[in-house]
């Protein structure tokens, strides 16, 4: 009884935050988090600026014979051959008239769908345009480095694979390096809070990354042939392996956490290797997304 009384006195002397302060603090954190997430979604979903595409006409062929574009994009047909040709839509929606050798014809595409076209004097010359809707839908994964910002942040609920993968990748990429940092700082400052961060972030990473990988595979199933074959081949298998590596990391770190122990050098070394693999994986993803 006396012990309890002493405890109560002791607790009276401890500084106590008013409950309203705690609530305000939590509310601010929540609002800040929502704002940051919303901003990220907005940036990810912002529609790409209009692009300029070129189709070369030479040796009685259109190159490329199949071109994927977005509504509002500009397409230029350049006649680099020796004969005059036309660019005539099969459905009659456009006709360039005769384009002489060395000349070009430009058009801004206004409707979606697959538009087959041909040359009127040489009807054996055929090609097609695949026109996608505006803003991030469909099979065009690469935002061009030279595009200008639209100036407006339109937020749309992410729906297509090319939006999900970049969003989820952020978590995959951020969590494990920060977890490793937490464990390193824990060793330096000997604080339990850092070690806790080291465990929990690795756990979050292991939970989220299967979804990141799934989104990547989904994106690839839509895009497939449009990405460089060698890069995607390494990226897809390294990414899937990283899912497994994260799970191993989480189990290992979880055991350490349960024992209330300090992460060993071998664990830290392993975590560092995983981070290096992650950086390489990210560089491959960046190469595909930004054409580096």
């Amino acid at each position: 009884m006396a012990q309890g009384h002493e405890d109560a006195e002791r607790s009276d002397r401890l500084p106590v935050c008013p409950l309203s302060w705690v609530r305000l603090h939590r509310a601010c954190l929540l609002i800040l988090t929502i704002l940051i997430l919303a901003l990220q979604f907005a940036v990810q979903s912002a529609p790409a600026a209009n692009s300029h595409h070129v189709v070369v006409i030479n040796q009685l062929r259109y190159q490329p014979p199949s071109l994927t574009v977005r509504v509002g994009d500009e397409i230029e047909w350049k006649n680099e051959g020796i004969f005059s040709h036309t660019v005539t839509a099969n459905d009659g929606s456009f006709d360039s008239g005769l384009i002489d050798p060395g000349h070009s014809w430009q058009m801004t595409i206004k409707k979606t769908g697959t538009i087959a076209y041909h040359c009127r004097p040489h009807p054996n010359m055929t090609a097609e345009l695949i026109v996608q809707g505006p803003g991030g839908q469909g099979t065009q994964p690469q935002p061009r480095p030279t595009q200008e910002a639209r100036g407006l942040l339109h937020w749309r609920i992410p729906k297509s694979p090319e939006q999900f993968h970049p969003i989820l990748v952020n978590f995959t990429v951020a969590l494990v390096p920060l977890a490793l940092l937490g464990d390193v700082l824990g060793r330096i400052f000997r604080r339990a809070a850092f070690y806790a961060a080291g465990f929990w972030m690795v756990l979050y990473a292991a939970v989220i990354t299967p979804f990141t990988a799934a989104a990547g595979w989904w994106w690839k199933s839509q895009v497939g042939h449009n990405v460089p074959a060698q890069i995607i081949a390494v990226h897809q298998w390294l990414g899937t392996s990283i899912v497994v590596l994260f799970v191993i990391l989480a189990i290992w770190r979880g055991r350490i956490y349960k024992r209330d122990a300090t992460p060993s050098w071998s664990y830290l070394g392993y975590a560092l290797l995983v981070v290096v693999a992650l950086v390489y994986q990210g560089s491959l993803g960046g190469a595909m997304a930004f054409g580096l």
Binding site: Q59, L60, I82, F83, S84, C119, P121, H122, N124, M125
Partner: protein
């Protein structure tokens, strides 16, 4: 003098020469190939020029215009290539035959007018392009020895002729013949 015997010998020699000449024409040389292609080009330019002066049908006019432009361009391209590759065009039995047929056809076309002219011109163009494509694919391209000449025939002349054929067939259909 045994005249029947001499006549038989003369005929046999002539026939052999004709056969040998024809056999040679089956496998034309590069100079002969260029000669044949240029003959075909000039023939189509001439016939289509006649068409331009005679037709009143806008589709036929458009087609004839395209023939003159395209075959003039092709003639120049082949001529430039032959000069670069040091191939001097030669006449052959095939090119002579083509020219003879063309002269006869042009005479026929000049005697026609109106819708009859249009139909005859277009059906002739269809047949002509079919024949030239056939010759190109079975004889000219396989026998071309010079790589540049072969490539030009395969990648430029053949698809061009194919395009002309399809265009001519479309016009023929619209004329309702």
């Amino acid at each position: 003098m045994n005249y029947p015997k001499i006549l038989t010998v003369v005929l046999a020699v002539t026939a052999s020469l004709a056969i040998v000449t024809t056999a040679h024409a089956q496998a034309p040389s590069d100079p002969q190939i260029v000669g044949i292609v240029q003959a075909a080009n000039r023939i189509d330019i001439n016939t289509s020029t006649i068409a331009l002066s005679k037709t009143t049908n806008s589709q036929v006019k458009e087609f004839a215009n395209q023939m003159v432009t395209d075959h003039t361009t092709l003639e120049k391209a082949v001529s430039d290539l032959a000069k670069k590759e040091h191939i001097t065009p030669e006449t052959s039995a095939t090119s002579n035959q083509l020219n003879r047929q063309a002269t006869a056809e042009d005479k026929k076309l000049r005697s026609l007018s109106g819708a009859a002219f249009d139909r005859e011109y277009i059906s002739h163009e269809v047949a002509f392009h079919q024949a030239v494509i056939q010759a190109a694919t079975t004889t000219l391209i396989p026998n071309a020895k010079n790589a540049e000449l072969k490539s030009a025939l395969q990648n430029t002349a053949a698809p061009l002729l194919q395009g002309h054929l399809q265009h001519a067939q479309q016009v023929e259909k619209s004329l309702g013949s």
